[in-house]
């Protein structure tokens, strides 16, 4: 899977709440640190494997553990029609 943000879905830094948010039609999802680090790497060119490898290096954590979190998070966003898959 090579995830991308669907049109009209974008990251935004909320300076009032001092947090990152994902803005989308009728939605504003407040992002925690992990979610933001994942979404920041979702650009429609990197595959999930590359995103996971990148996160594993950056946070010095085992890729298998990260892989589970990334899959669960991105699948959830897919069913919410916020994220698509270039390979699909």
């Amino acid at each position: 899977m090579t995830p991308y943000l669907l049109s009209g879905v974008r990251l935004h830094f909320d300076k009032v709440r001092n947090t990152n948010v994902l803005l989308a039609p009728e939605r504003a999802l407040m992002l925690d640190g992990v979610s933001y680090e994942i979404l920041r790497r979702v650009d429609g060119t990197k595959s999930v494997v590359e995103i996971v490898g990148d996160l594993a290096r950056a946070f010095d954590a085992p890729a298998e553990v990260i892989r589970g979190d990334v899959d669960a998070f991105l699948n959830d966003l897919k069913t919410q029609l916020l994220v698509g898959d270039r390979d699909a």
Binding site: V9, R10, D14, R17, A24, P25, E26, A28, T79, L81
Partner: protein
């Protein structure tokens, strides 16, 4: 009063002008005239103030927002302020060139209203001949421009049988989301209750159909459902709680906690012309009147749902119990509930159904 959280959404009712005349329109019976509308400069300032106090989502609405000649300028101003900008439109007045200008100005999303799934129905309900065809064309322009499209379909007694057709149409129009919104009785809609209020059996069927449809359309189109007024056992949390997540600015600049708040007697609204939006949000009488839960009467005060629905809708309490501070009369625990049941019976037995009263300037 503790400091309220920052608001997330602003509904900007740019104008009450609209080429359509939907009988379920939630605009107030007393419509704001063009001469009283806020100027481009004032709206621009309001958008900046909104972003400064934490608003993330801006809904450009009306009336028909495209009736404003400065709609492109206003969209650009909203975008420059950093707001996620949604255009809530009937589509009338959006040409290919105008839509391209809106996209360039930074428009993020379009929500298109659907008056019916068939041309005869749509044009009869909207009171605008040819409206359906124009709308289909606009949907095409929106998706061609790469913007996400949401359809908003108001469902009522006269079109609930078309639900399946409505969903199929939405998907074929390229919609990513559809809001199936049962008619809400505010403004002009209250004049048409006897003709539009769904029957109990329609509501039962609708709930089943929605559950099945969500499955059928999974991963292709999201379905948001606004359940009908009057039929549930417990009320909805209006606006996610009074003065807790959003605000509404009327065409003339009045700042309100919900789009129907001007139907509530006794509230004093302030104008964006006089004070900063943030001060109004924090301290105006209208926002603090029903904010939080301290003001709630019994049975809400000792109810386990107190922090779930905050006692329900103030407009509904004002309309059905003649007391805006009462427990929402729709609630099974409200002493007014039997009156609501009697009203449903009276409004749906057909005896009082009549010609539709269309929304228009008086």
């Amino acid at each position: 009063m503790p400091e309220p959280n920052p608001p997330i959404a602003l509904l900007a009712e740019l104008t009450h002008r609209c080429p359509l005349m939907c009988p379920y329109c939630s605009n107030p019976l007393e419509l704001v005239q063009k001469q009283q509308e806020l100027t481009t400069d004032t709206w621009t300032r309001v958008f900046r103030e909104a972003a400064d106090i934490g608003v993330l989502q801006l809904h450009l609405s009306g009336g028909e927002p495209a009736s404003r000649r400065d709609i492109v300028e206003l969209t650009a101003a909203a975008h420059a302020a950093g707001l996620y900008t949604n255009l809530i439109t009937s589509g009338i007045g959006l040409t290919q060139a105008r839509l391209a200008d809106l996209v360039n100005a930074g428009l993020d999303h379009v929500q298109l209203s659907l008056q019916g799934a068939r041309p005869e129905m749509a044009d009869r309900i909207g009171g605008y001949k040819g409206g359906y065809d124009r709308k289909m064309r606009v949907a095409e322009l929106v998706t061609d421009a790469g913007l996400p499209l949401t359809l908003n379909a108001v469902m009522h007694r006269q079109n609930l049988a078309d639900l399946g057709q409505t969903l199929d149409l939405a998907l074929s129009m390229g919609a990513r989301r559809i809001e199936v919104a049962c008619v809400q009785f505010h403004g002009w809609a209250t004049r048409n209750r006897a003709s539009l209020l769904p029957t109990e059996s329609q509501v039962e069927q609708l709930k089943k159909d929605i559950a099945i449809a969500r499955d059928t359309y999974r991963n292709r189109m999201a379905i948001d459902f606004v359940p009908p007024d009057y039929y549930s056992d417990f009320p909805k949390a209006c606006m996610g709680g009074w003065g807790s997540t959003g605000l509404v600015v009327s065409p003339a600049g009045q700042v309100m906690p919900c789009h129907a708040a001007d139907s509530i007697p006794g509230l004093a609204f302030e104008s964006v012309a006089d004070r900063h939006l943030g001060e109004i949000w924090r301290s105006s009488h209208a926002f603090n009147a029903y904010r939080g839960t301290d003001w709630l009467p019994q049975p809400c005060q000792s109810c386990e749902r107190r922090d779930v629905d905050f006692g329900g809708c103030r407009c509904q309490a004002a309309a059905l119990a003649a007391d805006p501070g009462a427990t929402d009369p729709v609630c099974r625990k409200s002493p007014y509930r039997p009156k609501v049941d009697a009203m449903i019976e009276d409004m749906t037995n057909g005896a009082r159904a009549s010609d539709l009263t269309y929304r228009k300037f008086g």
